[in-house]
Symmetry: C2
Subunit: 177 residues, 2 copies
Amino acid sequence: MKFEERTLSTEQIFSGKVISVQVDDVELPNGKMAQRELVKHPGAVAIIALTKEGKLVLVEQFRKPLERTMLEIPAGKIEPGEEPELTAIRELEEETGYRANSFTYLQTFSTSPGFADEIIHLYVAKDLVKVDQPAIGDEDEFIEVLEVSVQEADELIANERIYDAKTVVAVWYAKSL
Amino acid sequence: MKFEERTLSTEQIFSGKVISVQVDDVELPNGKMAQRELVKHPGAVAIIALTKEGKLVLVEQFRKPLERTMLEIPAGKIEPGEEPELTAIRELEEETGYRANSFTYLQTFSTSPGFADEIIHLYVAKDLVKVDQPAIGDEDEFIEVLEVSVQEADELIANERIYDAKTVVAVWYAKSL
């Protein structure tokens, strides 16, 4: 593979509940050595959920890494052995109380290719129905649900209440759906 | 702030050249405790660089976390004390050999709000001029430069050679510029 960096050794630094961290010694294409600091993540899903009125479903939650609340599309980590589409169906119900009669895979992308292997599988959920007694999600998640038009979503990007790449991608796609 | 998670203690896990890692004990809005695994990153810039022919400038490089080469817009980490716009001008020249007569700030977004504080400041560079002897970048970066139309960029997203969120965002913006 072009420009490949061959791994010479791996030092395991940290193994947590969400991420693990390692430092690899690599051989560069020119034969020199370098170190790469790598964050391992199980991968995630995110859902562009559109109501019958054409509104985009967002969730608001506090994000400790950024020390602020953010408006994002529903999303969540893939559990070990879980099919990504089932993660997406589960997270949509847990975070928003919605089930979708139409669930379509859209695209996968990496979030931070310079230091992390996290990828996000993006789905489109349409024909949403509110569940009477939705499944309960993580007990340490505090989430509020909002529904906004794509015009409102554009304004939320402009004033940085929407502030993460996956949700910006989602708003662009929602405009074209 | 809504749903705020109050930090009770911080355990420093790792301090590297690019990232550092810590685990925070936090108090949740309901008074319970939780742990948050946090990656600290200096922040980055990325550049939507459009040639006089309206082509988008991409760079191809090997990304160790994903063990593959990827096509991305030019980007790079902010050095300590560096103004983000100067980072953007510097990285564009180092990675592509271009200087821009028009350089405009567009937007900032977070890449992985669940576990990392990385933010990317996005700029638009137009009216590009090739530099005779461009500044040299990191000696452990091996980069190839490509110029593609936005239609070609769409195909590169579809076949996952473009595979990172910031470049997907950039392609959408490039269509509207």
